[in-house]
C-alpha cells in the first residue's frame, strides 16, 4: 500500500498503473499490437487463399483480368506506399526522441502519401465502372471467360477495397495522432501509440506489396 502511494506521488507520464515501468508497458503494448496484426494477416490470408484457389483453376481469365489493370498506376502506388512507410518509420524515429515537430512533419507526410494512394485508387476504380468491369454494379459480359473474369474482379475489388478501407482507417488514426502530438502527449519516454500505429501502417504496406504482383503483373510476356 505504501508502495502504491509512492507510485501516485511520482506518477510517470503515460505509464498505466498495472505496469512496473515503461519498458514493461512497451513490451506488452507491442505484443498486443502484433497479436492484432497476426489476426489481420490471417484475415487477409482468407482473401489470398481464395485468390490462390481460383487463380489455379482459371489462370486464363485471371490473366485477362490483369490486362485490364494499368501497371503504371499500380507501380506508382507501390512506390507511394513504400515512401509512406519510410516517412512513418521516420515519425516513429522522431517520437523516440520526443521531437514534436519532427513527429508532426513525418505524420503529415505519411497522411499526404496515403491520400495520394487513395486518389489514384479512385481513378482506377472509376475506369473500371466505365468499362463495365465491376461485378454486381456495372458489369458487361467480356468474351468467353466472362463469369471467371467476374470472379477475378470480385477478388480485385474485395482485396483492394479492404486494403483501401485499412488505409482510410489509418488516415483517420494519423489525424488523431497528430492532435495528440500537437498537444505534447508524446515524449522520449512515452511514444507507444506512434510506434504501434507505425506497425499497422507498415502492415498495410505489406498487404499491397503482395497485391501488386498478384493482381497487376499476370501474363505480361
Amino acid at each position: 500500500m505504501a508502495d502504491h502511494a509512492d507510485h501516485h506521488e511520482h506518477h510517470i507520464h503515460g505509464l498505466a498503473h498495472q505496469f512496473e515501468d515503461m519498458a514493461q508497458q512497451k513490451e506488452s503494448v507491442l505484443l498486443g499490437m502484433w497479436t492484432f496484426l497476426i489476426t489481420e494477416v490471417l484475415f487477409f490470408g482468407g482473401y489470398f487463399g481464395t485468390y490462390l484457389v481460383y487463380r489455379t483453376q482459371y489462370p486464363i481469365a485471371f490473366t485477362e483480368g490483369s490486362h485490364e489493370l494499368d501497371i503504371t498506376f499500380g507501380a506508382f502506388n507501390t512506390a507511394v506506399l513504400i515512401l509512406s512507410s519510410l516517412t512513418m518509420a521516420m515519425a516513429v524515429h522522431e517520437s523516440h526522441k520526443g521531437k514534436k515537430n519532427g513527429i508532426l512533419f513525418y505524420l503529415i507526410s505519411t497522411l499526404f502519401l496515403g491520400c495520394v494512394f487513395l486518389v489514384v485508387k479512385y481513378f482506377e476504380y472509376s475506369a473500371k465502372f466505365e468499362h463495365g468491369l465491376v461485378p454486381g454494379l456495372a458489369w458487361h459480359p467480356h468474351g468467353e471467360h466472362s463469369p471467371q473474369l467476374a470472379l477475378y474482379f470480385s477478388l480485385y475489388f474485395g482485396m483492394t477495397g479492404m486494403h483501401a478501407l485499412h488505409m482510410i482507417i489509418g488516415a483517420a488514426l494519423i489525424i488523431w495522432l497528430m492532435v495528440k502530438t500537437a498537444r505534447g502527449t508524446f515524449t522520449a519516454e512515452y511514444n507507444a501509440p506512434v510506434e504501434i500505429f507505425g506497425l499497422y501502417w507498415h502492415f498495410v504496406d505489406i498487404v499491397w506489396i503482395f497485391l501488386f504482383p498478384l493482381l497487376y503483373l499476370l501474363g505480361r510476356t
Binding site: 497476426i38 494477416v41 513504400i82 519510410l86 524515429h93 507505425g198 506489396i209
Partner: protein
C-alpha cells in the same frame, strides 16, 4: 527484457527504402520476361523478400525481444499451414473418384 533497443539509424531506413524501390522495379521487369512457370515464383520470392525487409527493419522485429520475434514468425507459419491445407484439398479432389465415393469430385 528492457535493454534490447539499439534502434535503427536513419541511414538504415534510407537503405531499406532504396532496397524496396529496387525490388519493386525488379518485380515489374521480371513480369515482362517469359520465365514460364517461374514468373509466379520470382514475383512471390521478390514480394516475400520485400515483406521480410519491412518486418525486420521498419517494424523493428530485428530490434525487438525474442518473444516478439517468435510471435511474428509463428503467425506467418500458421498462414502457410492454412494455404498448405487449402491447396492440399483442392489439388487432391478427384483422386478417389468412384460412384458413391465420399471423395467424389464435383466436376
Amino acid at each position: 527484457m528492457a535493454e534490447h533497443h539499439n534502434s535503427p539509424t536513419v541511414a538504415t531506413y534510407l537503405s531499406v527504402f532504396a532496397a524496396l524501390m529496387v525490388l519493386t522495379t525488379l518485380t515489374v521487369g521480371a513480369a515482362f520476361q517469359d520465365l514460364g512457370a517461374y514468373n509466379d515464383l520470382v514475383a512471390m520470392a521478390i514480394a516475400c523478400t520485400k515483406a521480410t525487409v519491412v518486418i525486420v527493419f521498419f517494424m523493428h522485429v530485428k530490434y525487438s525481444s525474442r518473444l516478439i520475434w517468435l510471435f511474428v514468425a509463428a503467425g506467418f507459419v500458421f498462414l502457410l499451414i492454412m494455404f498448405a491445407f487449402l491447396m492440399a484439398d483442392y489439388a487432391s479432389r478427384g483422386w478417389a473418384d468412384a460412384p458413391g465415393s465420399y471423395f467424389m469430385s464435383t466436376h
